[in-house]
Symmetry: C2
Subunit: 115 residues, 2 copies
């Protein structure tokens, strides 16, 4: 097998449509850092309206609020992750690690014939 | 957990770039049926030039010829899969089945908290 050949997984949750995956996970991580969906979207070179739709779609699909937004106040509002979003992110990350480890473990045997 | 929530994996092989995945696998299956890359591309509503590039890129990345093309002859040419392409497709399909089964098996426990 060519030395650098490896597997890459994209892991998504679906209902009758995409519900959660690497894009919304990355948005949530950046909201955690920046306390702003607008800043998170900008970081990812994504239109704010698209970021909003992605989060909204995940919330509706999973029937679970992910962002908590404060309006006004000392820090002029801003977004934070709900406890459910934190739990979901942690579960998704752990699940991805588990699947990636399994995929890597099985890879050599599956494609050893590629010399 | 919502009854219809489930996982979907996209499984790709990479070198320093995408080498093989569901798109090229589907192209190869359709070449096997149609004996023509042009017909396979048309089936997938893909430009022939794009289909050709995808196959060429996979061949170069994996250092392995995937399509064998005859020119002229009784059936006026046409494309067939090389034995290496058949082996790769079989290995990829088996690997996908193995990973999908593992992902489904671990899914409930990972996301059981989503009620």
């Amino acid at each position: 097998m060519k030395n650098d050949l490896h597997v890459g997984l994209t892991i998504r949750l679906f209902t009758d449509r995409k519900a959660f995956g690497p894009g919304v996970a990355e948005l949530l991580r950046r909201v955690r850092e920046t306390h702003s969906l607008r800043a998170a979207a900008l970081d990812m070179e994504m239109a704010y309206s698209k970021a909003w739709k992605i989060v909204k779609n995940a919330e509706e699909s999973l029937d679970c609020k992910l962002l908590s937004t404060a309006t006004g106040g000392k820090n002029g509002g801003g977004a934070t992750l709900t406890p459910e979003a934190e739990q979901l992110l942690a579960a998704y990350d752990a699940y991805c690690r588990e699947l990636n480890a399994f995929a890597a473990e099985k890879f050599q045997a599956a494609f050893a014939f590629l010399n």
